[in-house]
Symmetry: C2
Subunit: 357 residues, 2 copies
DNA sequence: ATCTGCGATGCATACGTTTGCAATGGATTT
DNA sequence: AAATCCATTGCAAACGTATGCATCGCAGAT
C-alpha cells in the first residue's frame, strides 16, 4: 500500500533520512525551518512511518494488550459492564498514543509473557478475572511481566491491581438504606472466597450496620451468582425464608434486576414494599422500572488509572494497587421506610393487584 | 524481556538461523528430524518470534483493525449488541491467527489508509456506522483500502458490507404477529433515510402485510431513535394517537423495552393487551419481564463472515456484500390475539390493577 | 565411473527505521 | 587570529527476521 519511505521524503526535502526521522519525531536537534519543510513534504506525499520498522529498531511497540476473560463456555454472557470498560481503556490508551490489542481468552500462564517477548505489546490489562483466586496467584508469580488486573485489591496480594473500592461501595449503599430508616436489609450476592469483590461489598454492608449499631440478620444473606437469574433465585429463597425485610442491597445490578422481578412476581412492589440498591450502574439501568438506585463505578477514570498504572509499570516505576471510589446514584428503587412497616419490622405483600385477590 | 533470538537457537541446535526460521514456520524444506530438534530447543528456551522483525521483513502484520463508532459525545450509550459483535469478530480473527487492534473513534477519512500504510493492520472492520449514509459514501471511495463494514447492504452501493437481512427479519417478525391473528400492528423505529437498516426492517413489515393482504395503517408508525427512551416516547405518542392496535414490532430490543415500559405505565399489559416483538436479541433480553420475542442476529457467524470477507479482500479476491439470515426467537411477549380484541379491532386497557380503579 | 537430480542447509541481503557518533560551519570567546 | 563552542546535519550501524540463491552430499541413472 504505502511505498513511500523516509528515504524518499529525505531526497525530496534535500536532507538525509536521519533528519527526516528526527523531524517527524519532533527532535530538538533539527532546525525549525528544516522540520517545517520535511513535514510539509511528508504530508503531501501522505507518508506514514512504518511501525514494524520503527518497533524493531526502537524495541517499543506502543501497544498494550487487553485480555478479557471469556467465560462464554460457561453459558454466562459477557457482562455489559465490560463493554464500557473496554471502551474506556481503549480511549485512555489512545490518549497516550498507545494502541490496544484485544483478545478474549481463557487465562493461560504464558499468554502474558508471550505478548511481551514477541514484542506485540508492552504490557497487558486484564479484565474479568476478579473472581478467580487461583489465577491471581499465578499472576503474582509474573513479577517480571507488565500486567495490571481490574479486580479486587487485597492487602499483601502479589501482582498489580486496580479496582473499585467495594467496601466503600457496599458501605454507602447500605448507609443510604439505613438513612432511609430501613433496619432489615437483605444482602444478595456471592460471599464465597471465590469472589473477593463481593465479599468486600458485604464487608461494607456490615460496616454500615455497625456504625448504626444494627445487627444484620445472617438469614437475610442470600448467595447468588452475579447474573440476573442468580438474583431472581436468591430473592425467591429470601422470601421463602419468611424473615421480614424492607430493603435489599444487591452485589450486582443484574442481581438487582432479577431480585426485583422475583419480588414483583410475589407481589412485593419496589420501592413501595422493598427498597433495592444495586451495584455497577449498567448503561441502561437508569431506564429500568423502577429506575435503579445503584453504586456507580466510573469506567472512564478506571480506564485512565489502569492504563496509567500499566505504563508506570512498563517504565519501571514503582506501582501500588489502587482503589477507585464508587459513587451512590439515588434513583427510584429506594425510598424512605413507611412508619407502619417500621412498626411491624416486617414487609408484607400489599395486595393491590386485583388478580391476586 | 525476550533476549533470545533465532540466531541463538540456531547456535544451540547446530544449524543456521535460516533453518530455525524455516523450521518454526513449518517449511517443507527442512528435515523433520532437524525441525524436531529446533522446535524442542526453541521451546526450552522459551523463544518467541519477534513480530516486529517478522512483519518488517514479510510486510504482513497479521493484524486487523476494528473501528467501533464512538457516539458517546451524543450521550447515547454504546449499544450492548456491539460487545457481542466485538467478541465474535475478535474470536473469528484469532481462529485465523490474526490479532485485533481495537479503536473507538469518530470516522476520519484517512484513518483506514493510515492503518494500512503504517503497516499496523492489513484491513479494517467497521462497526456501528450503519446509520451514517454520508460516511458510507466516503468509504465507497476507498476502493483501494481493505475495509468491510457491518451495516446495511444496499444494491449498487460502493464499498463492502456485511449485514443482517433486515428485510427478512422484519418480515418474519411481522409474519409471526399476523400468524397470531393480529391485524393492527404498530411499527416503532426510525424510517428516515439516515437509517437504512431500520428502513429495511420496515420494508419487511410491509411485505408481510402485503402477503396477508392487510393494509398497514400509516398512523401506526412511530419514529424513534434506537434507544430505550426512544421506544418509550414513541409508544406514548402511539397511544395518544388513539388508533387501536394489538401488537407492535420494534426496530430494536431497546425500543421494545422502552415501549413495554410505556405500555405498562398506561396500563396496557404485554402480552395480554399488546404483543411486542423486538430486534437484536440482546444478551439479557431473555430475562426481561416478559421475556421478549425478538429477531436474533447471530453475532458468531457475523464475526466469521466479516473476518472471512475482509481477508478475502486482503488476498485480492473478489468480494460480494453478504446478508445474514436472522432468526425469530419466540418468547413471552407475543401471544395469540384474543377473540374479543379481534372483534373490536381495538386494544383497551384492562383495569386489573386496583390502583387504577 | 561420471552425470544428473534432489533433499537439505547455509550465506547474505533487504525490510525501513532509530540513534550514537562524527563532521561541518559559523559565531563567540580569549 | 586562534581556540572553543554550539547548532545542525550526515554517516553508518544496528534491530531480528524471511527468503532467493548457491552449495553440498548422496542416491539413482546412464
Amino acid at each position: 500500500m504505502n511505498r513511500v519511505t523516509a528515504g524518499e521524503i529525505a531526497e525530496l526535502a534535500g536532507v538525509s533520512q536521519s533528519t527526516v526521522s528526527r523531524a517527524l519525531r519532533g527532535s530538538p536537534l533539527v532546525n525549525p525551518i528544516t522540520r517545517e519543510r520535511v513535514l510539509r513534504i511528508a504530508n503531501e506525499k501522505n507518508y506514514k512511518v512504518n511501525t514494524s520498522a520503527s518497533r524493531l529498531r526502537s524495541k517499543q511497540s506502543r501497544t498494550l494488550a487487553l485480555l478479557v476473560h471469556d467465560d462464554s463456555d460457561m453459558g454466562s454472557d459477557i457482562n455489559p459492564f465490560f463493554l464500557s470498560m473496554i471502551a474506556a481503556i481503549t480511549k485512555a490508551a489512545a490518549e497516550k498514543n498507545y494502541d490496544i490489542l484485544l483478545s478474549f481468552q481463557q487465562f493461560s500462564d504464558d499468554w502474558i509473557a508471550d505478548y511481551e517477548s514477541s514484542n506485540k505489546a508492552e504490557g497487558v490489562v486484564m479484565l474479568g478475572y476478579g473472581g478467580y483466586t487461583d489465577y491471581i496467584r499465578k499472576i503474582g508469580m509474573l513479577d517480571n511481566a507488565h500486567c495490571v488486573t481490574w479486580g479486587p485489591v487485597i492487602d499483601g496480594q502479589p501482582g498489580h491491581f486496580v479496582g473499585c473500592d467495594n467496601v466503600h461501595g457496599g458501605y454507602v449503599a447500605t448507609q443510604h438504606l439505613l438513612d432511609l430508616g430501613h433496619r432489615q436489609i437483605a444482602f444478595i450476592g456471592d460471599v464465597s472466597d471465590d469472589c473477593p469483590e463481593f465479599q468486600a461489598r458485604h464487608a461494607g454492608y456490615r460496616r454500615a450496620h455497625e456504625e448504626f449499631s444494627v445487627d444484620p440478620n445472617p438469614r437475610l444473606q442470600a448467595t447468588a451468582n452475579p447474573s440476573e437469574l442468580g438474583g431472581y433465585e436468591a430473592a425467591e429463597r429470601l422470601i421463602d425464608r419468611d424473615v421480614g425485610f424492607t430493603a435489599a442491597f444487591c452485589a450486582t445490578d443484574l442481581n438487582a434486576i432479577g431480585a426485583i422481578r422475583a419480588f414483583r412476581n410475589r407481589n412485593y412492589h419496589v420501592p413501595a414494599d422493598i427498597s433495592v440498591v444495586g451495584f455497577d450502574d449498567l448503561p441502561s439501568i437508569a431506564y429500568a422500572t423502577p429506575a435503579l438506585t445503584t453504586v456507580r463505578q466510573d469506567t472512564a477514570t478506571a480506564g485512565d488509572v489502569l492504563v496509567e498504572t500499566l505504563l508506570d509499570l512498563v517504565r519501571g516505576n514503582d506501582v501500588v494497587s489502587r482503589l477507585l471510589p464508587p459513587e451512590l446514584i439515588v434513583r427510584q428503587s429506594s425510598r424512605r421506610l413507611r412508619a407502619e412497616d417500621a412498626a411491624t419490622s416486617r414487609s408484607r405483600p400489599r395486595l393491590t393487584d386485583a388478580r391476586t385477590a
